[in-house]
Amino acid sequence: MKLNILWMYHDLMDLYGDKGNIQVLKTRCEKRGIDVTVDTCGIGEARTIEDYDIFFLGGGADREQSLIFEDLLSRRAGIEQAMKSGTAFLLICGGYQMFGKYYKDQDGKTVPCLDFFDYYTEASDRDHRCIGNIAIEVTMDHETFNAVGFENHGGQTRGVTTPLGRVLKGHGNEYQSAFEGFVNDQVAATYMHGPLLPKNPRIADLVLMRGLRRNYGTVTLSELDDTFETRARETMLGRMGIKKQSE
């Protein structure tokens, strides 16, 4: 089996170790004998997005985010084509925000985003920045399980009707909110850094299965030794006072 991944703005949108997500996706393919390739895409670089099985976009600092903004908007038609063709999307933080309707900054200026989904984001004041360890109960592709990460965002994302998970500890989409992220059967979007995937290999595998689905239909992935992954996640769940659940 073959799988190709497009890593958008790898040199700019790489905050809080988001590149680790790519390493996890790649390694988990290699261990299973899946022929995986990762292409990067910088500003102005020509790429046919629909040629890719997985589209990954991480978060960036404000400055970096403003630099890529125009380039990303200019690729809207290509991204839409990829959505139609069944590409799987994994979006973190700034990447998540940019797929919504708009972003309203601290000065009240509204910046239109890609407008694929109905949610929108508004900058918060200093006292409502969401920072810290977070645990959520993910529901994705009919599976329910706990995931952990680290959130650090000022943006308050509202209008999400299909969140990625229920907040067990931490903030989520808004300051002290009940839900985190956005999910549909193709796109998974979240504020969770950490990076997200090393401690949450189940999300990684679901994203891989979504990517493979385009060419191979529903595939079953072989089990991997996730001892470190499980211990790392359970350490954080335990610290946040969340009881173990049978997975």
């Binding site: 905050l15 390493q23 404000d62 810290g132 650090n152 401690k199 790392a232």
Partner: protein
């Protein structure tokens, strides 16, 4: 006579008499009197050292060099760089009328809290080492720190001593309207590179937003750069280091050869900033030469413990520092074991994702036999290494004593890498293990 000052000084001398440091006197002082620092009558020279990496070493080198040149200097040599630490240092070194006793005060100041103390301290010189991503969750983003510092230096009327090879630091030179700006720079060395896989910051010109062009990188985003469109980065350094010789740990500046206390490019930059400042102050640079030769790095910086085989401990705080420590370790001949203590307490930063921004894949080297992960987040570290193909060489030993005992019994040269809050306790464990060996 201020009764509160007397009380603070008394507490300090009691603690010092009992052999205890700490910033309790400063905590009390600021609690009783929030304007405690402002009340201080400072001497003629007040030198503040800030930036991300190298603050402790640089400020100590400056203080020692000025002393060597004949000045009486007050400094926070242990790196107590938050306001409570600074208040403690000043309280311990002033008379009953808040007069700080000495010719110069040299203070390492935390880059996040600098803006709170800057005016109260009446600085005459500000030395900036560099700006790297560091413990982001304490402050938001590095950009915020730089912007705040730009605000500070706008009206500053003293001497600005800036690393001319760091585009982020150069922004302060651009912003300063009244200060005398002095740059230090280090010429290309045999270890300089024309491309970099480490440069996280400084990709774009802060004036026009277009990509910067680098003729060489020293480490991370430090190097010689300029903007082809508007000339940003085309500086005339006041002090340029040339002929860095890593085989002999020496370098040249203004026609004079110096020997460095540490054989690393960041050590050379620390020395360059000291020489630049000495020139500005009109002090004899041969005083600095003596200090560079004999300076002993502080605890946890290349500190060696005699286990069954030598064990060297180094502090890491951020990706750039970690990269430099790994270069040092891999530069040592022979097989080695490594033990990494990763903590996520307040001073380390609660967010450990920075380990993914550091080049831990470099440890995937045949000379590295086993890597032990310990500290409060050992499994996060183990995962970081696992995804670099080091799975078979990684072990988690949560208990620090067991981890160090394992290193000792393995009978192989070893290196301990520790984040800030694990450093003290790990050194204690190492000392104990060393002691049990030499009984």
């Amino acid at each position: 006579m201020d009764i509160r000052l007397r009380l603070v000084k008394r507490i300090h001398s009691i603690l010092a008499g009992a052999g205890r440091g700490g910033s309790l006197p400063g905590v009390l002082a600021l609690k009783m009197d929030p304007k405690f620092i402002e009340k201080m009558q400072m001497p003629e020279h007040v030198i503040l050292v800030s930036g991300t990496n190298g603050k402790t070493t640089t400020s100590n080198l400056i203080a020692e060099s000025l002393r060597q040149s004949g000045m009486k200097v007050v400094n926070n040599h242990r790196g107590d760089n938050l306001n409570v630490g600074i208040a403690t240092t000043l309280a311990a070194n002033c008379d009953d009328r808040f007069h700080v006793i000495g010719d110069a005060v040299v203070l390492e100041v935390d880059e996040l809290t600098l803006y709170r103390q800057f005016h109260a301290l009446h600085p005459t010189a500000l030395v900036i080492t560099n700006f790297f991503r560091d413990q982001l969750d304490r402050a938001g983003e590095m950009e915020t720190i730089i912007r705040k510092m730009i605000e500070l230096v706008k009206d500053f009327e003293g001497d600005l001593i800036l690393n001319g090879d760091d585009p982020n630091v150069l922004r302060l030179g651009d912003a300063a309207e009244k200060a005398r700006v002095h740059y230090f720079s280090v010429n290309e060395t045999l270890r300089s590179r024309t491309i970099s896989d480490e440069a996280g910051e400084g990709k774009f010109c802060p004036r026009c937003g277009r990509p910067l062009s680098y003729s060489y990188y020293q480490y991370s985003h430090i190097g010689r750069f300029h903007c082809p469109y508007d000339g940003f980065g085309e500086i005339k350094p006041d002090l340029t280091v040339t002929n860095v010789d890593f085989d002999n740990a020496s370098f040249e500046a203004q026609g004079k050869t110096y020997h460095s206390f540490v054989n690393s490019i960041y050590g050379v930059y620390n020395c360059a900033s000291v020489l630049c400042l000495m020139n500005v102050m009109g002090r004899d640079v041969s005083a600095a030469d003596t200090v560079f030769r004999n300076y002993v790095l502080k605890e946890g910086r290349n500190e060696v413990f005699q286990l069954s085989r030598p064990c060297t401990i180094n502090l890491i705080k951020n990706p750039t520092g970690a990269n430099e420590v790994m270069k040092f370790i891999l530069g040592q001949p022979g097989d080695k074991n490594i033990c990494i203590f990763l903590n996520d307490n307040d001073q380390d930063g609660h967010d450990v994702s920075w380990i993914w921004d550091a080049h831990f894949e470099r440890l995937n080297d045949p000379s590295v036999k086993t890597i032990i992960c310990s500290g409060t987040r050992p499994y996060d570290m183990a995962l970081r290494l696992k995804y670099e193909g080091l799975e078979d060489r990684v072990m988690v030993i949560e208990n620090a004593r067991d981890a160090i005992r394992w290193l000792d019994e393995a009978n192989l040269e070893s290196h301990v890498i520790s984040t800030y809050t694990a450093l003290h306790s790990t050194r204690a464990v190492l000392r104990k293990q060393e002691g049990s060996r030499h009984k």
